[in-house]
Every structure is written in C-alpha cells, then in structure tokens.
C-alpha cells in the first residue's frame, strides 16, 4: 500500500505540467541571479573608499556622534551578518532607509523609476519606428545612398558624446527655436498639478484628462527621448541590416522571387518574419539599457530618473540607495529577458 502510494506520488510529480516546472526553474534562476547580484553589490559597497558614517555626520562631527551613527548602521557587525540582515529585509520588499535623506529607499525608487520608464519607453519606440525600417531598407538597397546614410547615422549615433549632443539639442530646439520645453519633466507652472497615480506624467495627465499638462510634459520629454532613441536607433538599425542581409542571401528568397512574388512580400513576409526573434533580443537589450538610466542624459535634462539617483547615491556613499537601485535594475534585466523568451515562443514555433 505504502509502496503503491509512493509510486503514485512519483507519477504525480512526473506528470506536473510543463509550464509549472518551467516556472519553477525560471523563479529559481531569478532568485539565484538576484542573490548573486545583491551579494556582489553589497561587497563592492563595503570595500569602496567612501565612509557612509562620514557622509551622514560630516567631517566635523565629534567622535561620539560618529560612533553613535556607526553602531546605528550596524557597521560593527561582521559583513556576512550585515548581508544576511539586508537580504532578509529585501525579501520583504524593504530596501532600508536612505542614509542621507532618511526616507525609505523603496519610496525614492518608486518616485524616480517611473520617470526613467516613460523616458526609456518613448526612446525605444523612437528607435524601433525609425531603426527597423532604416535597417531593412539599408539591407535591401545595399550599397545605395540609403545604405550609406544609415551607416553615417549609426556611426554618428555610436561615436557622438551624448553629453554634447544633448546640450546641442537643448541649445537649438529649446534655446533658439523654442520648439520644446527645457530641462525638467514639466514646466514649473505645471509642477504637481496632476495627481500622481503612475508617476509617469504623460500617463497621469491623460488619466486626469489634463491636456495642457500633457502637452507641456510631452514638450519636455520629446528631446531627451529622441536623444536616447537616436542611440537606440543606431544600434537597432545596424543589427537589423545585418540580420536582413543574411536572410536576403538565402535560397528561399531567390525561390520566392523566381515564383514571381512581389519585392514587398519577399522582404516583409519572408525575410523580415525570420529576423523577428533576433530583433526581439536586440530591442530588449536596447530597452534594458535605457531603463537602467542614462546618467548623462538625466543630468543634462534635469530628469530625476534612476540613473542619476543611483549615481548621486553612490557619490554620497548612500549604500542602501545604491543597493536598492541596483536590485531594481537587475530585476528589470531579468524580467525583460523572460519577456523576450516568451516572445520567442510567440514568433518561433520551434521555441515552444
């Protein structure tokens, strides 16, 4: 009886649906990756030549004030114990308090991340809308002026310092032409006008049906998003061109043409369909890079995003904020990877 039950249990385990085992594997993989990420960041934070106590109390504080904060931060405990406490807190969604502004790090991240999210999303849309067609056309018309143009556009995108390009963009489109809003997410007259629901001003202003704020917010985001999108475009267009060239030289393309299929169908219905999986990877990587926060863009455009948040925290020795930000960025990378894997399965039956 016991034996039969045991066998039954084994059969039950063996017959677990595939998606369940896949999900368990994925979650396990996420957990291990996140733990590794937190550990490495934590250790780097501890060996950095910045004193978090000094950052809080200032260099003129008395020894007793210094010591009080030192013990308050738990820095007297062994590093491994500190790490254990930290992991336990993170698992409960608590990134601790910012050492400098004494606010919960989770709250700070919830405030800055939506700013980066809307900027990166708009930026990557820009990159996709222009980059993919440019790459396809460059591949189809290899050697033509369009191909040369795509090459120059990509080269400039790769090589031009974003700092310079951002300032020039501001000077021309904001300073001289007055087409777009200046640095900041929204004009000062519209600060805190719409209630923050998602933290993304474009979305919040739509939810609030406040079209004036929407227009103003859009005028502020369009330039930094275009700038980020341009770098995204450079990458996406070159990769698209490369993938398309490989497909266009394949035999099935020749066959399609011999059968009299139109060039449009050959390119978009055959060649392009086959590069979609590769493109997803490229776009996901590009998006993840933008979500990580472009520090220089955020600084030039006074955009309070996660990139400048982590950088400021790092320079101020606010390690709780650095760790919290790093964990969030790491999680985004992992989630985007998972999302890409799911899309593979949609576009490629072999991956199902």
């Amino acid at each position: 009886m016991t034996s039969a039950n045991h066998e039954g249990g084994a059969r039950q385990r063996a017959s677990l649906p595939l998606w369940v085992t896949a999900s368990i594997k994925t979650l396990g993989s996420i957990a291990v990756t996140m733990l590794g990420l937190v550990f490495i960041t934590f250790i780097i934070g501890r060996v950095m030549p910045i004193d978090p106590v000094l950052a809080i109390v200032g260099e003129r504080a008395s020894q007793s004030t210094y010591d009080a904060v030192y013990y308050q931060l738990g820095l007297d405990k062994p590093v491994i114990v500190q790490f254990g406490y930290y992991v336990w807190d993170v698992m409960r969604g608590d990134f601790g308090m910012s050492l400098l502004n004494a606010r919960p790090v989770a709250e700070d991240i919830a405030r800055v991340f939506p700013a980066t999210l809307e900027l990166a999303t708009l930026g990557v849309c820009f990159g996709i809308v222009l980059g993919v067609p440019l790459g396809v056309v460059a591949a189809v018309r290899k050697g033509s002026w369009i191909d040369q143009l795509a090459r120059v556009v990509a080269l400039v995108g790769y090589s031009m310092p974003i700092f310079w390009l951002g300032l020039m963009g501001l000077l021309v489109f904001y300073g001289i032409l007055g087409w777009v809003g200046g640095p900041g997410r929204v004009g000062i007259f519209y600060e805190d006008v719409v209630p923050s629901v998602t933290g993304m001003i474009l979305v919040d202003s739509i939810l609030d049906r406040n079209w004036t704020v929407l227009k103003d917010a859009f005028s502020h985001i369009v330039l930094p998003a275009s700038l980020l999108g341009y770098y995204s475009l450079a990458y996406i267009s070159r990769m698209t061109r490369s993938f398309m060239l490989e497909q266009m030289s394949a035999e099935y393309i020749t066959t399609a043409r011999v059968k009299g299929m139109s060039e449009w169908d050959v390119v978009w219905k055959h060649a392009f369909r086959n590069i979609r999986v590769q493109l997803i990877t490229v776009i996901a990587l590009s998006y993840a890079g933008l979500l990580e926060g472009s520090v220089l863009t955020e600084i030039i455009f006074s955009w309070p995003g996660i990139g400048s948040y982590i950088t400021t925290a790092l320079l101020s020795a606010d390690m709780n904020a650095v760790l919290g930000g790093t964990v969030v960025v790491g999680l985004i990378f992992i989630l985007l990877n998972i999302f890409s894997d799911l899309l593979y399965k949609v576009f490629d039956p072999r991956a199902r």
Binding site: P49, I50, D51, L54, I56, V57, G58, R60, A61, S62, Q63, T65, S98, L100, N101, A102, R103, D108, R111, F126, V129, L130, P133, L134, V137, V140, R141, I146, L167, L170, L171, Y174, G175, G178, W179, V180, G181, G182, P183, G184, G187, I188, F189, E191, D192, K215, D216, F218, S219, V222, S226, E263, I299, I300, F301, S302, P304, S308, T312, S316
Partner: protein
C-alpha cells in the same frame, strides 16, 4: 526604390510629427521666484539636523530665530527677530531674551518663550551633527532643564562660563537656532524623536515661507506665509529646482524659465554677462582654500620653510586664470565680511625670496607629497603649486584621492601637505579661530581631529590662549582688535598657506531685486525679493 523611400519617409514623418511646437513662456510670473541650484546635498529639513548649504537656504526662509541677520544689510550683524530685546547678566553668563508679542507660527499657534525653550533644548537633546554649535556653551541633555529656561514671555540661557555676547548671539543665528512650533512638531512625535522624522520633510516655523514639498534631487517648493510678522513676501511661491549642469542652468536662465542660476561655471558666467535681461551678481562666501604643512615633517616644520611656501603660490595667476572670478586671493583664516576679518594679503609669488628662505633653513633636494581631493579646481591649484615649487627646487608629488582617502590621511597626520577647503560652521569668528588657531593638546593621543591645527600637528605658537581670550571678550571693538592680532601672527608663523576665498557668481534676471545668497555669514533669503 520608390517603395523603400516611402517606407522610410513614413517612419520619419511619424517621429517628426511628435515634435510639437510648444510656446515657451518668456519669463516667470511676477509673484513667483524660480531658482536653479544643486540641491542634492539636502538630507533633512529639520533645523536641529540640517547642516548643508542648500538645506540652510530653505530653513532660513521657513524658521524664525531669536536673533537673525538683516538680508538687506549683513554689515549690521545680528538684529532682533523673534526676540525683540535681550539683557546680559552682570557675570556675562546669562542672556535673557524677551519674546516678540503677537507673532504666530504658520500653523496659527502663537510663538512663545516655551517654544523657544523647547526648540533649543531639543537641538541639544537630539545631538545631531550641528549640535556642537550650542553644546560648546556647556549645554548638555542633562542640564538643559536648568540652563535653558522660559519664564513667562522671557527665555534665559545660562552658559558654562563667560563668553562674548556677540559669540553667543552669532551662534543663535545659525540654522540650529531656529524656533520650532512645539505643539505641531510634538503631534508628530514617533518613538520619542521630538518630531525629528516628521520635520525631515515638513515645516513648523514662523518664517516668511512654508515648506510645500521637497522631492530629493528634484525640487523644493515654498509658499509665502501671508501672516509673517515682517510682512507677507512679494514672491508668493518659490521653487528651487535641482539643475546639476551649468549649461542647462544657463539655457533656462536665458530662456526666462528661471530667475536665478546659482551654479554657473566661469565659461557660462562669461556667456551670460552680456546677455540681455541678465545680470551677474557676486557675493563673497565663507569657503577658504588652503595648503597645510604637516609639522611632524622635519623640514616643513622649520619657520623659514613655512614662510617660503607662502611665497611659492601664484595667487594672482590662478585668480586671473582658471579660478576666473570664482575665488579671490585671501590670506587670513577669517573670511572677509566676518567680524574682525583682516584684509591684509602680504604674500605674492616670489621665487627668489622663497629660495633665500629655503637656503637659510638649509633645505636642499626637498621632495614632498601633497594630498588633493579629486576636484578639478583643487587639482589645478595643486598643479600650479607643483610648477612654482619646482622653480625653487622642490619636487612636489600630487596624490589625488577621494574625499575619504585624503581626509583619513590628513586626520592621521600622514600627508606631508594637504590641499583643502574649509567653510565656517556659524557666523562668528570663533568658528575658524577655534580650529585654525586653537590646539590645546597637540599630542597624538589627544586625537583632536576636528581641529585643523591639530591635524597639522601645530601647537599654534602661543595663539591658543589668545583665541580663548578673544572668545570671552565682551567688548566688541576689543574683540575685533584681538582677532586682527591673532590673524597677523597666524599669517607669519602658521603652517597654513591660506590662498583663496570663494566668490559665488549667480546669473539673475534683471527684473529680480534684493535676492541674496547670504554672503559669507548667512543663507539665501527670498523674503525681500521683488520683481520690477
């Protein structure tokens, strides 16, 4: 071919359409002041804890103090604020303040002597970083019940010994001297924190403005207090926006989207100087740049060598080149505009004189290390010194490091020389005299790392008792004379080569009047600003 061009053109059009032309307003509203500043140093708004420049600027406009500076005339020194008068006891150890009648906090609660008592006691009990400004008078958490006492409409503070009245009152003008609305703050007390957590992001003052919101690294918004006893401010709303990049501040200023740009670099200052509608406003600040010679070094401790190094700095050359209006030559430990500050600058670059002094000291083939924090202006100053010192036969090795790396070695007396900056903590000469010219125990065991003289292992050559005497001198004129004497001796004998005092250059729209950053002794004040 046409088809592909159309594809690309369609995509381009889709993106180009997104560039909607939006009219940019030419200037900010007449009742609003918009300031661009780097505010990422703000850690809290609690006046008992706030000790950063940007935080002090905000608190200056939120809280009243017993005594304060007149933002339109800093030369007057401290003037009555929430205390309308004060009396000093015969023994000089007690000051009794009479509170101004009829003043209200922004909450509507009256400002009373018990509020003042509670605020000062609280600052001592919480013992946050700036608490030393008050505890140096002998106040401790244990004795505040006796030493800081309200009685009716008066508040009496009793110090542990006789101090110059100007010293005590100057310290009460610091942010930590802010008077907080006890009732409002205590309503938000958590775990006996006396409202510390709540006041970190909220305000409970009686000043000309109320804190509407603080978004770290983003903005601070203030709303005018219409019931301010000094009269409702003309600027009904003040927004201080965090704009880190100088070029971005300049563009915003030129476009009229901000009224004041506070962090313009020399190139951008030069750019806006002749721009229409913009004026450049300059104010001396308290920050000093100096070289410190470690007196444990057998050569650097020789008097002639200390003197020689003061002739090896190209003060004028640096001031007129890369420091370009951001610093002015100043060779005294009291910044100009401070009580008793000397304006004597006897040293200039003189290689021959330096060589003579070095020869007199028998110095040959000297090689030294200078520790420098990784900041562009400091590195450039160090390189200039390296160059001029080489002309006198001294090899200078520059060690660049993070703030912690250099500070740790400086505090441990490990560096031959340090290139450092120092800003005063409160608007009284003792703040700098007490660290540059005061070192009662020069032994390594004393570990008085807070004293700059100790860090350089300098016993002050007899200046310590003079500094102690100056801080207790009640007569203001005599006190000034004493600091003049200390500075004269300090210039000649000390191992500090004080070089420059900071100048803040702000780009300001020309219709904005009465804006001040507080000069060297105060903080930014928005209450008197008007637009014409």
């Amino acid at each position: 071919m046409k088809m592909w061009t159309q594809t690309l053109a369609g995509a381009t059009m889709a993106v180009a359409l997104s560039f909607t032309s939006v009219a940019v307003l030419a200037e900010t509203p007449a009742n609003m002041l918009v300031v661009a500043n780097r505010i990422d140093d703000i850690t809290t708004m609690d006046p008992a804890q706030s000790f950063e420049f940007a935080g002090s600027d905000v608190n200056q406009n939120i809280y009243g103090k017993l005594v304060n500076f007149d933002p339109l005339d800093f030369d007057k020194g401290y003037v009555p604020d929430l205390a309308e008068s004060w009396v000093v006891s015969e023994d000089g150890m007690s000051i009794t303040f009479t509170m101004r009648e009829g003043v209200k906090f922004q909450s509507g609660n009256p400002v009373t002597a018990p509020d003042a008592e509670w605020s000062l006691r609280r600052a001592v009990i919480l013992n946050k970083t700036p608490a030393f400004i008050l505890t140096q008078f002998g106040f401790t958490p244990e004795n505040v019940a006796e030493t800081i006492k309200a009685d009716g409409n008066t508040l009496t503070i009793k110090t542990d010994k006789r101090y110059a009245t100007s010293f005590v009152l100057n310290c009460l003008t610091a942010t930590i001297g802010s008077i907080v609305d006890m009732k409002t703050a205590m309503e938000h007390e958590v775990d006996g924190d006396m409202g510390n957590a709540w006041l970190a992001t909220n305000s409970a003052g009686s000043g000309p403005y109320t804190l509407v919101g603080w978004k770290p690294n983003e903005s601070v918004t203030l709303q005018a207090n219409p019931d301010y006893y000094g009269g409702a401010p003309a600027m009904e709303r003040v927004i201080v926006r965090h704009v880190a990049e100088s070029a971005s501040q300049r563009l915003l200023l030129e476009a009229g989207d901000i009224d004041v740009a506070r962090n313009l670099n020399p190139e951008d200052i030069a750019g806006v100087r002749n721009a229409a509608g913009i004026v450049v406003q300059e104010e001396l600040k308290g920050r000093l740049m100096y070289l410190g010679l470690n007196q444990t070094h057998p050569v650097l401790s020789k008097p002639q060598v200390r003197q020689a190094f003061k002739y090896l700095v190209d003060y004028e050359g640096m001031q007129n080149s890369f420091l370009n209006g951001q610093y002015t030559t100043h060779q005294n430990f009291l910044p100009k505009t401070y009580l008793g500050a000397s304006t004597e600058n006897p040293f200039s670059l003189n290689i021959e004189k330096a060589k003579e002094l070095l020869a007199e000291a028998g110095v040959e083939n000297l090689e030294i290390e200078v520790g420098v924090r990784e900041a562009q202006e400091r590195i450039e100053i160090a390189q200039s010194f390296q160059n001029t010192a080489a002309q006198a036969g001294i090899k200078v090795n520059i060690t660049v490091g993070t703030g912690k790396q250099i500070l740790d070695r400086y505090r441990a007396r490990e560096l031959d020389m340090s290139l450092e900056a120092w800003g005063p903590d409160y608007p009284d000469p003792q703040t700098n005299a007490g660290t540059f010219a005061y070192n009662p125990d020069n032994s390594l065991e004393a570990k008085a790392t807070g004293l700059l003289a100790w860090r350089l292992a300098w016993d002050t050559d007899g200046l310590t008792p003079l500094t102690e005497a100056a801080v207790t001198e009640v007569d203001r004129d005599k006190r000034i004379a004493m600091y003049q004497e200390i500075q004269a001796k300090f210039r000649e004998t000390s191992p500090f080569v004080i070089m420059f005092q900071q100048i803040e250059q702000d780009g300001v729209r020309d219709n904005v009047k009465n804006f001040t950053t507080g000069e060297a002794i105060g903080s930014a004040d928005y209450s008197k600003v008007v637009k014409e």
